[in-house]
């Protein structure tokens, strides 16, 4: 799209001590995954007939999708609403979304009892338009495709004119080179179609993800069960998108020895009070309209959890983002963004697990060590893959644009 991104692969050693920690966590996750795929879901989870869904849904899927919202929110800001100053954060956010959704799908395969049937929603004879999960599944599938298409320009930039496949693949060099040139010529023209599609698909499935639990009104705590759950999920996705961008950008600056991009992140955080206001006020109005406000003071542990979620995760950062001191200070900005991420993660866990009350509950659900290990392994893989991509593809904004003299890439 716009032509003033100067991004380049980060030059540094791939394997550091931190990377090896990730490898170790992935290995532990793989061991438990091996048990899951040979002995069944029951062998590595505390799921049963009362508690059919655990953290693989609440964290791997629900939080995974929510925290990947940086991708569509920044794409919308920079490309649809033409806030070009946010251009430097679009690519990192896109990569996070692309890898995040990839990990969501891998996590889903662990949770599906018949994972080999994962393609069934694409078969017309099995379509069920009345199922919320069908809508989520189809949108996620299309959106993942869109994300990989949006990633293609980074591939062409990196390899165009430099295709040198080794050994037996050498005869393919010409073909691959031609393909990249074709992408290069065409993608820029049609990319807007995919960018808008990505935003629309995201709005659709972010909200539908919230509609999932609406079907269990008799099994949900009334503080969380409401017909406006889809709207609340969409609004909180809008909130957490920019916060994830701030969070990641700060962490990446530290990991890759760069200066925090405050000149981009500061202005970005200006929209957060507005977004958080919409979420908090919708939530408060919903409680008031349903006559459930009194439950906040009923002293139950659920009301305590709810107050922490809303107070620490949304109201506190809402107030913080108002202050220009917070918006100018890397440390405070990072803190406020982290609080919103905490709030949204807690909200998803609350909706899918804390609020869930089996009709004939004989126990509480707490994740099995195997569930924790696989979830941790997936998160480690996400960070590992992110590091690999930013070290090998032009993702990160280059501070002093070292554009090659004379020849400037004509596309994006």
């Amino acid at each position: 799209m716009s032509s003033h991104v100067h991004a380049a692969p980060i030059r540094m050693r791939f394997f550091t001590r931190g990377t090896w920690v990730l490898v170790a966590l992935m290995a532990v996750g793989l061991v438990f995954a091996a048990v899951r795929f040979t002995k069944g879901i029951g062998a590595v989870t505390n799921l049963d007939n009362q508690w059919p869904w655990g953290i693989w849904i609440a964290i791997d899927i629900a939080c995974g999708v929510a925290l990947a919202a940086g991708g569509f929110t920044t794409a919308a800001l920079a490309h649809v609403f033409h806030r070009e100053k946010f251009e430097p954060i679009v690519r990192p956010a896109l990569i996070t979304a692309m890898l995040g959704y990839t990990v969501v799908v891998i996590g889903l395969l662990a949770d599906l009892g018949r994972y080999y049937n994962v393609w069934h929603p694409m078969v017309p004879s099995m379509w069920s338009g009345h199922s919320v999960l069908f809508e989520v599944g189809i949108c996620v599938m299309f959106y993942l495709t869109v994300l990989y298409i949006e990633f293609l320009p980074m591939v062409t930039e990196r390899f165009r004119g430099r295709v040198a496949l080794p050994g037996a693949l050498r005869p393919l060099n010409g073909f691959v080179e031609g393909l990249l040139r074709l992408f290069d010529r065409t993608l820029g023209r049609i990319m807007s179609v995919f960018i808008i599609a990505g935003v629309v698909l995201s709005c659709m499935h972010q909200s539908s993800l919230g509609a999932l639990m609406v079907i269990a009104p008799y099994k949900m705590h009334p503080l969380w069960w409401t017909q406006v759950l889809p709207l609340l999920f969409l609004l909180s996705a809008f909130c957490v998108g920019p916060c994830m961008v701030i969070f990641e950008s700060m962490l990446a600056s530290r990991a890759f020895g760069r200066r925090p991009e405050m000149e981009v992140l500061g202005p970005l955080s200006k929209i957060l009070p507005v977004l958080l206001f919409f979420f908090i006020s919708t939530k408060a109005m919903d409680l008031a309209v349903r006559g459930q406000l009194y439950r906040l003071a009923d002293g139950s542990w659920q009301s305590g959890v709810f107050l922490v979620e809303m107070g620490v995760g949304f109201v506190l950062p809402f107030l913080m983002f108002f202050s220009s001191r917070v918006r100018r200070s890397p440390r405070l900005l990072f803190t406020a963004a982290t609080l919103v991420i905490f709030g949204v993660v807690m909200n998803r866990i609350d909706v899918f697990l804390v609020a869930f009350r089996p009709v004939y509950a004989t126990k509480h659900y707490f994740p099995h060590v195997g569930e924790l290990a696989i979830t941790t392994g997936l998160i480690a893989f996400l960070i590992f893959a992110y590091r690999f991509v930013v070290l090998n593809f032009p993702v990160m904004h280059v501070e002093a644009p070292a554009s090659p003299p004379g020849k400037e890439a004509p596309h994006a």
């Binding site: 869904w53 009892g113 018949r114 999960l133 808008i196 629309v200 999932l212 889809p230």
Partner: protein, 300 residues
């Protein structure tokens, strides 16, 4: 790219999305000729023969019939599971000495939340009343288990290769062939009565009307979550027999109304797409004009 190209591509995508509209039906699935079973809990003697017959018919792990005469199992409330599609629970009789029993199994809702939840139509309400499960379609997501207001579907968590969602089948093969379900067939005291749901409802109200001292005036399953194929009458409130208190609307109606409201003819997503496209195009126009006014040369 110029405006016309842009709008053309945008339009093509919009039409494509609209054509993919697969969600047209809002019908409530309450088959007129559905069969059902009326459970008269005041007649049940807690013999558990229905459990044995169910295991036989459905080829579940089964012990000799004598094992089912063991009354110790009544010490704790049991739930159906992947190897037992029906269980009988014992409850204290209200107002008098002694016990009452209530058989538990899938109630085969008229408008089942499990089938509405399923994304691959692996659970479907049949015209004969049964909510039938097709393991070949199933992905094993267990959303049906989340959705069921009666906590009925069970899962084969120990099976790594082809786990199934398990629940009462309403002996769908038997009833399609004109036979009665296994549990009804064996019941020695006619506590279980099989027939057309409409006729069973009439019978239930006749019994309640004829013996008002014997029954509470409530046919469980007549209205609960949109009605169920299995119906219960009892001599005491159903909450004292382990039945959940439920409203008259099926949870499926709530989500499907939201879902069909948002996606009716795909108007909302297409409108959002068109709006964003317009915003995007206007913005790029403005940028170009501004750049031209500044006298800068701009590419593309």
């Amino acid at each position: 790219m110029d405006r016309r190209d842009f709008l053309k591509t945008v339009g093509a995508v919009g039409v494509g999305i609209a054509a993919a509209d697969a969600s047209a039906s809002t019908a409530v699935h309450a088959p007129p000729d559905a069969f059902g079973v009326l459970v008269d809990t005041t007649a049940c003697i807690g013999c558990r023969k229905c459990e044995w017959a169910c295991n036989q018919v459905n080829e579940l792990p089964v012990q000799p019939l004598e094992e089912f005469e063991n009354k110790d199992v009544f010490a704790a409330m049991r739930r159906p599971d992947a190897g037992n599609f029906t269980v009988v629970n014992q409850w204290a009789r209200e107002g008098r000495e002694g016990n009452v029993w209530a058989k538990v199994q899938c109630l085969h809702c008229n408008d089942p939340a499990c089938a509405s939840a399923c994304l691959v139509s692996a659970l479907e309400k049949q015209p004969n009343g049964a909510v039938k499960y097709d393991p070949w379609r199933c992905m094993g997501c267990r959303y049906c288990m989340v959705a069921c207001p009666f906590q009925i579907p069970a899962y084969q968590y120990a099976d790594a290769l082809s786990p199934e969602v398990r629940k009462c089948t309403f002996c769908v093969e038997r009833i399609s062939g004109g036979e009665r379900p296994g549990c009804v067939e064996i019941c020695p005291v006619e506590c279980l009565i099989y027939g057309k749901r409409e006729e069973l409802l009439t019978l239930a109200h006749e019994r309640i009307g004829a013996y008002p001292g014997r029954y509470v005036d409530h046919v469980y399953g007549e209205h609960e979550v949109g009605g169920t194929s299995w119906l219960y009458i009892a001599g005491q409130p159903f909450t004292s027999l382990g039945f959940p208190e439920l409203g008259e609307q099926s949870p499926a109606r709530i989500t499907e109304n939201i879902q069909h409201g948002i996606f009716r003819r795909f108007i909302a997503p297409v409108a959002l797409y068109a709006t964003l496209a317009q915003v995007m195009w206007l913005g790029s126009r403005k940028d170009e004009v501004a750049a031209a006014a500044k006298g800068e040369d701009h590419h593309e």
